[in-house]
């Protein structure tokens, strides 16, 4: 039997992350419909995401209905810290994956089962590379960089700094102990993202916390985006 095979080339032109993007778009449409402002917090491990979130939630108590999705490869340590604020929280353990994706958010949101939310915070897995390309359906990404990490992080991880609407310089209270130049850090951010709002915070002294809260509430009031 002369069954012959021939080689064929099929033009495709499909975005590699099209399935994630589709789910992210569904998430976003749902968030907009519900009037929920969704922030995706991204930073290196230990830059202060959870600490800032806890202070933020405590400050927003009685003013905004908030909830949190916590992404970590392992443990529910961060979710436990958030739970102490009294706001609803879901921990998502990503296991081997170093980032959250849109389907994880979809599931976590359905499990959260809260209505009348104003702001949903998503704390991504501590990592400046992997979360960058995975749209979750959030309204904006916020990248945190602590002053102990050096001024060069925007240049070394430009994609996530480019995609973020705001950059929060955290742990500003440590400046007296470091040779860290916040102006150089800002200059580096500008090279990658001229439009980014740059905030400086310290959870130890609460400096800059009000600016951060004001920014959040303003963004929320601009919905739908």
């Amino acid at each position: 039997m002369g069954k012959s095979t021939k080689t064929q080339t099929i033009p495709v032109k499909t975005r590699i992350l099209s399935e994630n993007d589709r789910l992210a778009a569904e998430n976003r449409a749902w968030f907009v419909k519900q009037g929920i402002f969704v922030v995706n917090l991204i930073s290196s491990p230990g830059s202060g995401k959870t600490t800032l979130l806890v202070d933020t939630l405590n400050a927003l108590k009685g003013k905004q209905h908030c909830a949190v999705i916590e992404g970590d490869q392992q443990t529910s340590l961060d979710a436990n810290r958030i739970a102490e604020t009294g706001f609803p929280v879901r921990q998502v353990n990503t296991g081997r994956a170093c980032h959250l994706d849109a389907s994880m958010i979809k599931n976590a949101v359905s499990e959260l089962a809260v209505t009348g939310l104003d702001i949903l915070f998503i704390e991504n897995v501590g990592n400046l590379i992997c979360p960058a390309e995975f749209d979750l359906g959030e309204h904006c990404k916020v990248v945190l960089m602590s002053v102990t990490e050096g001024e060069d992080k925007p240049l070394k991880y430009p994609v996530i700094f480019h995609l973020s609407r705001a950059v929060v310089m955290t742990k500003m209270d440590l400046i007296p102990h470091l040779r860290y130049d916040p102006l150089l850090a800002e200059k580096n951010i500008r090279k990658i993202n001229p439009q980014a709002v740059i905030l400086r915070t310290s959870t130890y002294t609460s400096d800059g916390l009000q600016d951060w809260l004001d920014w959040l509430v303003t963004q929320k009031s601009h919905l739908p985006l």
């Binding site: 064929q8 495709v12 032109k13 590699i16 099209s18 994956a97 390309e133 500008r190 990658i192």
Partner: protein, 116 residues
Amino acid sequence: MHEVGIADSIMGITKDVARENGLTRITNITIQIGQFTAIEADALDFAFQLMTKDTPVEGAELVIEKTPLLLRCKKCEGEYSGEIDNLSCPLCGAEDYMILQGREMVVKSISGEKIG
């Protein structure tokens, strides 16, 4: 290694295309990855080779075409290939631009064997 997730998505797209077009064995997958993405080509290739083992895609060549970063200045309207760590306009110094190319992550074509 988020490249595992990326490789997984490429596999998914490949399986769909193979099914729709009756391809029995995949020989080549050509993708485009922009220079200004958080994707590392070597890591992606490594993840892809691991993932395709013992599948109809095993042995397929993954060709990664890197598309260079290209920007347009909103002030002087000049087009330039920006530096990855400095997107500002080298022509007039403005920090106001749009990215024309360099953010893509696309499966461009898939080749495979077909009976008949």
